[in-house]
Symmetry: C2
Subunit: 404 residues, 2 copies
């Protein structure tokens, strides 16, 4: 059985994802689709709209055969770390190829760009340093530095977020000497950061979430952009848990943590840089909402995403020492769900998996998975009091979701 | 001007307090009344119903002339520490006598009991140890140990909470070689722990709070037990801040703190004893409400009050090292409010105060007062989001309340 791997967040699963899935399967001539999916907190430093379990159901009902959870220590990270974790998992499960969507859509662009970057590495690094010294953020410096290299217009556009991610996937594959073959397909219509609907059937997850939170009517406004299963699963979640998760639901906790901690304690948090703790402390004392807080702490130097990830680490109390032991590869495969075909694949390949397969939390111990559990606990804080522990119990008791 | 000192919580100020105040003033032949009042968190380890500012107004409108805040590091403590802090403040401001309510009502009982305890100290301590080894709480062991001393029935009844507090006041006066003269008056009708109304005009603060939280009608049920000013100030507070404070308002924060902290971090919290942190951690993972949580952690060994105080320290993140530097005497007098007569008294005695008088937060720095500020921040978490920072600003900007 030939497997194509996808690296996803599905927040929520929409028509663009469905297109990417089908196109990837065809391009790779694959029998099954394996997704490595972020858990409850995402790469942009945000809580997912609904839990990883519900998003797993969306994936399985829309064509994915196996869903693994990308551990917290890789999921809420910059592109490089995120890519390293996800690629190592696809490799461990024997995926034949990884197919990612990109603005470029041409895999040779990626290889040429990597070669170019390697050839000009010294100049590139010098350029980055120079731009960083002007006070811009790292991703901005990277894109500007690349633009300064000779003939840069003949290579990938590194101002595009999915090109950057793709580049990191391929760098990870090279670095890990992985057998996974990278492929890319062009993204359709929606840009990653689009806030509003621009096409009749495909919209960015950002604009879909925006519509969902806009008002109660927003939920029907998304109908044309998401498969029916997504719509049903969103409604089901809302009915049971009474909320969709967003940062504002966690603001009280973030504020509490900030106002009762000492600067020394905050300085130990992963990704906290010297001096930033005081900025956060004073903003927490002034802001009434998460949005106000973010607007107060935002500077040219730190991207919104970078700051949000830091805030997630504050909530989960993830310290520098906790994250220091994270290696560049994942150390387990936590199975969130599978279809019959997915099950068949896993049964056939069981003996060849290079990492332990976890179907039940109680059967595995480790520092990394403790972070996942803590993230699930913290995610549950977004719910009404009487439902929090229900979600925690699910985390421990839920067997992998199985869909025939 | 002759001043009588009272040590109070006024949660809220009720008819029993009004009686105690008048009787104390008369007994002491005093011109003015000085109250040392707990701030936002109380000796029983609970948030006050309304802020210290609103309770200061209650005090001033009902006959108190000067209100000082008993610092957090004394207010949320066992009787001995509570008494030490309060007595030292009354002494520093030149109060002539301290008049406390007690079940006994006879000051000579207290002196005789202290002499008796000193004479039998060795036996008493042995008795306490023995009872503690049976697993009962410290206050229980103390009362039982005293009962085992010869002729104990001729002395104070140490099963009564106000007798114990009174004893600690007098011990503090002796130990600090204070000039404050202790007096006591018998408490009227209500017992400290009474849950229900038992008299026509005097009820315990416990039963009054219970009625207030029982339902919206409870607010009129208390009319006969509290002065009009109290009623008005309670209503005003509710209108502005939309809540009365109780532990359940803080449960989410306590639970969050417990589920994201490591056992090592919790072990540093003041009053945390070996092994208790794990008990708290596992209870936080099971309980949906504060009451459920408390019921899960309660044992014979720890009183409800002792555990509640520990929970307050968890909320305020007060560590053993923070509290270790607390001496037996207060180091400042934070003025919360005064009447014209109170102002006159302070003006006259300004030169003789043995501690700095703080009217404005910004004019004073210190570790102890930082704990008060943190307590005020944490207290504000019980409010709706858009009102939290309003309360914090009051903490910094509110001059002492002045009532003519």
């Amino acid at each position: 059985m030939r497997a194509v791997g996808l690296i996803v967040e599905y927040n929520p699963f929409h028509n663009g994802h469905a297109y990417h899935l089908q196109a990837s399967k065809e391009a790779a001539e694959a029998d099954i689709v394996i997704a490595v999916m972020s858990g409850n907190f995402l790469q942009r430093g945000e809580p997912a709209l609904v839990s990883k379990w519900q998003r797993t159901k969306m994936a399985l009902l829309n064509g994915v055969d196996i869903v693994f959870e990308l551990p917290y220590c890789f999921a809420t990270q910059k592109a490089e770390t995120f890519a390293n974790g996800a690629v190592s998992m696809l490799d461990a499960v024997g995926t034949h190829c990884l197919c990612f969507g990109s603005e470029s859509g041409d895999i040779s662009d990626f290889f040429r760009t990597i070669d170019h970057l390697e050839a000009k590495q010294h100049l590139f690094n010098e350029n980055i340093k120079q731009f960083l010294s002007t006070g811009v953020s790292y991703p901005k410096a990277l894109s500007l530095a690349f633009g300064q290299l000779p003939d840069s217009d003949k290579y990938l556009d590194l101002a595009k977020p999915n090109n950057i991610l793709g580049l990191e996937y391929i760098k990870a594959i090279k670095q890990q000497k992985s057998n996974v073959i990278p492929m890319t397909i062009p993204r359709k219509n929606a840009n990653y950061h689009d806030q509003d609907f621009t096409s009749a059937t495909i919209a960015s997850a950002t604009s879909i979430r925006k519509a969902i939170f806009a008002d109660s009517d927003g939920k029907s406004a998304i109908d044309q952009y998401v498969p029916k299963a997504t719509k049903q699963l969103l409604n089901e979640y809302l009915q049971f848990y009474q909320v969709f998760h967003q940062w504002e639901n966690y603001w009280s906790y973030l504020q509490f943590r900030l106002i009762h901690s000492s600067p020394e304690e905050l300085r130990n948090i992963y990704e906290m840089e010297e001096g930033l703790e005081n900025r956060l402390l004073s903003a927490a004392r002034e802001a009434d909402t998460y949005l106000e807080f973010m607007q107060k702490i935002k500077t040219k130097r730190y991207t919104w995403t970078r700051l949000q990830r830091l805030c997630v680490h504050i909530l989960t109390n993830s310290k520098k020492e906790d994250m220091a032991m994270i290696s560049e590869k994942a150390s387990y495969l936590r199975l969130l769900g599978m279809t019959t075909k997915g099950k068949e694949y896993l049964n056939k390949n069981k003996a060849h998996l290079s990492l332990p397969l976890i179907s039940k939390l109680s059967s595995f111990k480790g520092k990394e998975i403790n972070l996942d559990i803590k993230a699930a606990r913290v995610f549950s804080l977004g719910l009404p009091n009487h439902l929090k522990n229900k979600m925690i119990h699910q985390e421990y008791q839920q067997p992998p979701i199985y869909i025939k």
